[in-house]
Amino acid sequence: MRRIRHAARILPLLLLLASMPAVGQQQQAPAAPPPEPTLAAPPKLKELVPADVPRGTKFPSPEVVVVLSLEVTADGKVDRASIETGAGEPFDSAALSAARRFDFEPGRLSTGEPVPVTVTFRLRIQEPAAPPPAPSRLTGYLLERGSRLPIPNVPVTVRAGDRVVATTSTDGSGRFQVEVPAGEFTLSASPPDHQRLDLLVKTAPGEVREENYLLESAGGANETVVSASAIQREVMKEVLTAQQVFNVPGSAGDTLKAVLNLPGAARAPFGAGLLVLRGSAPGDSKVFLESQQIPQLYHFGGIRSTYAPAFLSSVEFVPGNFSVDYGRAQGGIIDVRVRDPRQDGFHGQADVNLYDVGVEMEGGLGGGWSLGGAFRRSWIDTVLPIFLPKDANLSFSSAPRFYDFQFIATWAPDASQKLRIIFYGSMDRLVALLSQPQRDPTITGQLDARVSFYNLQGEYMNVLSSRLRQDTSLVVGFQEIQTQIGPQYFFNLNLERLSLRSTWTYGFSPQWELRGGFDGEAAKARISVNVPSSTGPNPLPPSSLPQIGAQITTWIYSPAFFAELRWAPIPNFSILPGIRANWFSEINQWAVDPRLLARWEVVPGSVVKGAVGMYQQAPNPQKSNSVTGNPYLLPEQSLQASVGLGQKIVEGVSLDLTGFYKWLSQQAIANQTSAYSPTAPRYTSDGTGKIYGLELLLKVAIGDSFSGWVAYSYQRSLRTDPPYGQVPFDFDQPSNLTVLGTYQLGRGWSAGGRFRLVSGNPYTPVVNSVFDSATGVFVPVYGDNNADRLATFWALDLRIDKVWTFKDWTLTLYLDCQNVTNRKNQEGWTYNYDYADKTPTTGLPILPILGLKGEW
């Protein structure tokens, strides 16, 4: 914009026209001439109209003067204007044009009468100052480098030198916009858990710039174990994020393996894939996917979970005293939480490692919809033949392999409701041929196994009001197990399953909240079975055992109702009494489980908590079926009590200590009398037991550079199964220590380690053997049940990650090396043919898993 400074000078001039009449009057009134009116006041410019010269006019000097002659009328207007002394064009024209628009206070005579007056006017036209630079508009997005996730609510500051010239914040999509003077300035942002942004930016006047600023995540890999939801319904509940699951050393990024590093989880033998929580039997604990049970936890060999972590949000781990929402389990629970496919654009990942290869794609479709899918296949069938000796007594028609997949569609139009469809499944397959019998001549020929399941899960969440919320999910599932071992033994299962869960929560006031719901299952099972059946706790040659054969088609119903009240009489203190009633059609029994939890945050950072409750489950269907077992069994019971203390020690360091005791009763056990008495039930509910222990979890997170934890469990798990006396349970591990941590080395490098020191499992020694002449097999003669213990287990695992972050994607190279010292940990004994000689059976040797993962 031009600015014109004008400084016209009005000169007292002789007014020629005015003087002429005055001379004439002197001639007409010689006697008494009236006084000659004189010009008392010259015209006075009211408002200066600046002279506008065309933009870009070159001024010969900073100021140009044009002298004008102006005839100012009696009413103050400029009648005529002319140049007296010009300055050339376009200055003269501009001056005339401006002058004609002048408005004067007219000149007046001494009588006060306005009169026309001609004046000389010096109009100064100054060269306009350079226009101020146009502001620059800078629009940008703060995104996490690689994942391109928006970084919302981050203050953004623009400084010119030390002077702050603009501030703003990113919105929910990570977007910000500032308007700043063109020039050179520093753009700064410091989002938590991310690399700081300090960028020198030069902008031209009026420039509009839109850019994405990709910031390295600095804290993602170092998130420590986080606590659960605001209303905690368990004495001990730990949650691992998907990133933690991927990075835990020694777990090879498996969904379930990572949580088994927490206190309360026993170390499962290599290849077993068992879930032993707080000393309970593997079948006593359940794993859920968004509160709906996963039919099969692991692929063959227990190396990989069937639910790949591509759409994993977190894994919740509750080793005992879980809430009334869950049932049909007398041990603990794990709930796998699913993340929704991303709404912002299309993304994906690919992961290739020694075990398997997986791909994942996801993206938003608009209208609140997003869609994603993942698929994974194992390499085992490719790798295994390389390691098989050429003279091995085994050949594969179909080498062991697995597939699993997840498809997820989410509709979330707003925060108050969400619909999600999850279709996931798994398939394991192998066909092998044993060219000659091994130890037992009945184990020969074809070994065939196909295990698969497919679940279609629909979920709908709706916040009906500020007080009322509902969560409902429905699962239609199909599961198939087809196994054939040699010519004699087979087990085939076809299971069609329907499961409905609906939970309603109503908050009466901040002090009172009621939750309740329905959790029902119905399944149709078709079973054909011909397997060896043992009435004892120790392994025996199949050929030495009687066979159980049956063709069964059965329906199993298990509706359950649950309700829980939360009462918070004072701040930071709450009591949650609850009750769950479950029907078990297999045994025609109701089970009513009252449960109670109290939690008190004594001072900020110090929490005392305690719980007691009954947990009941139906016995294994094989034990309760009328053909293969005893339908008059009772529900297996576990009365659980636990007390805990949570203490924040310093920032980033916290300690959880939990003590627990479990009384087991009505446990279904084999009845040895049935071995020779056809009328005796195969199983009875006479088993009892007790489990007690102490769990410690010390979590450490030092800034963004280190995170890890120390988990220690002391526990004893004892069983009394008549006719035996009290003996340690198979997975009684009195001492279980896990220390793990990951350190961010910078430049995308991170290194982590895990060290485990665990008591050896009990085992029953073989003291002799008997030759069964009918089969040529030696049958072991066992000593006292679980009277001996295997050697202490210890192993060190290391993991190194290197992340390359590109503009739109990241590439991670990782090496997860298990048992780096190649320690030969004993997992059992291998006996010679007549059990007179034995050698330790060792577990996993050193196993480096090299993988490459790309995400975009």
């Binding site: 091995a392 091994q438 001549p441 196994a449 004892g536 030495s544």
Partner: protein
Amino acid sequence: MNRTLAVPLLAILLAVAGCKNDFSPQSDLLDLRVLALVASPLDVTPSAGTVTIRPFSYVPPGSPTPLVEWTFCPLSVGAVTAYACAIPACETSSLDPAEHWLRVGSDGTLTASPAAIIDGKCPQLRLAAAQGAFQSVFRFRITIGSETRDAILQLPVWLLPPPSGWEPNLPPVILEVRIGGRPAASPPPLPVNGALPVELIIDPASVQTYVDAAGVAQTETMTGYYYTDAGTFDKGVLTGTDTTSQLQGIGIPATRTSAQVWVVALDLRGGQAVAGPFTVPIGP
């Protein structure tokens, strides 16, 4: 139901796939061993009355005369308790001077009348006779010095006549054993560090069909066990009616001039047949 069946299956695969150890194979006869208990008949029905069981044992050369004991238990708890007798009072031993139920011949062959033993020692079991056959256990114990070996044979003992349509179990019939392509009675020498094929031919007509516990018709799996006291077999056990294992002349002491070879055929239901010992000269 049995969702963990895949786990033992994989364990089997791992066990057989590549896990080697230094144990002596079952086919190597290094010390006292029971090879077979050959019974006749294999089902003790009221009409049969008496059963004879002949033991086949390997006694290392130069050993003192072994002590032999037979016991009979009409009702056993099974393999879980190493075939302990469910009702100890019903068990009888050939070494019990107060008992006379078990007669043992000079070659160790047992002759017994299970029904008579039950009637004499456990008459209460008659009450359960209608439920079918008892899986009775005959236990053979052989002792040389401090070395004792136990072997059992379970035989169905019928106190009442079997139902109509019942088919008795018959033992496998060994048609021929050939060593090095010749009749086993005149085998060629076993070359040191060489091998000789040992072929067991079982009469296919002796392979029976039966209905298993699941009600499924099954065909007997004929199984051949190979034993030797010098050298070793590359495969100690094979299934089929015509199987061949290689007798390998390795690890044979220089003082040995011959090897003794036995072959045992099993139908895995109690039927057993033994061929041997065959003397195989050890050649250069």
